[in-house]
């Protein structure tokens, strides 16, 4: 009896949430785009993937006055990335991990790298490490260097604060003129537990003025 009530409440809440999402999309999208995006969010819901990021992309596109087909394509690409991230990070991955992992995949890192990072830390949240990995890539750190650095730090049990500091320091080094790759290589070796002599990545090319 109690279980039935709990299940009933859960279904009711899920229904209300879906209705709220629909209302937001309805007010922002044209009917054709709405229909396509709703199909995609329904697929995500059926696969138990996070839906809010997909709704968010659609709403962002509407607010930025993007054309309907572009919004649809963005939501579709995001859905594919979410699927790939969960496949790589495992069924136990939390929604924030899946969303962060999707961002990393969209930045061009293969799923095998996500799997490696997960295997180095099967039981801790990878949200922050993956956000930092994506940020490094966005700042021009080569894919190999960035992914090796995050993997090495994760293997060394680096804390979220260590990843946050790594990101900030690399950014400051880049602003100061260091090449993104060199900054990342040296900074990650400064994290406790990352062997100083570990070849994080091949020596990168120096950025020319």
């Amino acid at each position: 009896m109690r279980i039935s009530i709990i299940v009933g409440c859960a279904v009711l809440l899920a229904g209300q949430r879906a209705h709220a999402q629909d209302a937001r999309l309805r007010s922002a999208l044209d009917p054709e785009t709405l229909a396509k995006v709703t199909r995609l969010t329904d697929s995500a819901r059926a696969e138990s993937l996070p839906i809010e990021p997909l709704v968010g992309v659609a709403l962002e596109g509407a607010q930025r006055h993007a054309a309907g087909p572009r919004i649809t394509r963005a939501v579709q690409d995001y859905l594919v990335a979410l699927r790939g991230a969960r496949a790589a990070l495992g069924a136990e991955a939390s929604p924030p991990e899946i969303v962060s992992g999707a961002g990393v995949l969209l930045a061009g890192i293969p799923g095998s790298v996500l799997k490696q990072i997960r295997s180095s830390q099967p039981h801790r949240s990878l949200t922050v490490p993956l956000v930092v990995l994506a940020d490094l890539l966005a700042r021009g750190v080569p894919k190999d260097t960035a992914s090796h650095a995050i993997e090495a730090a994760t293997r060394a049990n680096a804390r979220d604060e260590d990843f946050t500091a790594l990101r900030r320091q690399v950014e400051q080094d880049i602003v100061a003129g260091a090449s993104p790759a060199t900054a990342t290589m040296l900074r990650v070796r400064n994290i406790n537990g990352v062997p100083a002599a570990e070849p994080v990545a091949p020596l990168p090319a120096v950025r020319r003025p």
Binding site: V57, A74, V99, S100, S125
Partner: protein, 190 residues
């Protein structure tokens, strides 16, 4: 373009070789950076937190010299640094028990209005306006955010979208411009 290049290509091959220059010597750059890391580690040992300026806003010359937007209490990824201020009305973030109040700030002396947009308020540029925090250049607002990864940006004067120069960048650029990311600590996996 190699030894097999015919005569017509040779000038271009020579020009390309000249442009490439001598092989890069990384040692000086690496040494300089190592020195900087050592110096910083001494500074941090004293508990000094540096809030330095960030990359220039080159595409918006009237903001050159502003230096930076600041995510107060949420520097970097905001892990564990949220303030406990009451959230402003106007954002649609859920008010769950695990929500954290996060203060956002943005330095824009020439702006007439600044607002915060993100996945937590439906990217609505009217939902979460910032107020001038110091009466002049710094705009700020506090919002309650549930745990997780949130994507956000600032909208200046209702038209110009900008990522937070202090925050991590989101990798996805669905509509041509990057946003920023903030992570509110989630419940740890067992």
């Amino acid at each position: 373009m190699s030894d097999s290049a015919d005569d017509s290509e040779r000038p271009f091959v020579r020009a390309a070789a000249a442009l490439r220059g001598a092989p890069a010597d990384h040692s000086a750059e690496i040494f300089a950076l190592q020195q900087r890391i050592r110096a910083e580690s001494q500074t941090h040992a004293l508990g000094v937190v540096e809030l330095s300026t960030r990359r220039p806003l080159a595409r918006h010359p009237w903001w050159l010299g502003i230096a930076a937007a600041v995510v107060a209490f949420a520097i970097g990824i905001g892990v564990g640094r949220g303030s406990d201020r009451t959230a402003r009305a106007g954002n649609s973030a859920a008010n769950g028990q695990n929500d954290r109040a996060i203060a956002f700030a943005f330095v824009a002396p020439g702006a007439h209005n600044v607002s915060l947009v993100g996945d937590f308020n439906g990217w609505d540029a009217h939902a979460t306006p910032l107020e001038r925090a110091d009466g002049r250049t710094t705009w700020s607002v506090a919002v309650r955010l549930p745990p997780g990864r949130h994507v956000y940006a600032f909208v200046i004067d209702g038209v110009t979208w900008m990522a937070d120069p202090q925050g991590p960048l989101a990798p996805e650029q669905w509509f041509g411009q990057r946003n920023s990311v903030i992570v509110i600590p989630e419940d740890r996996r067992s």
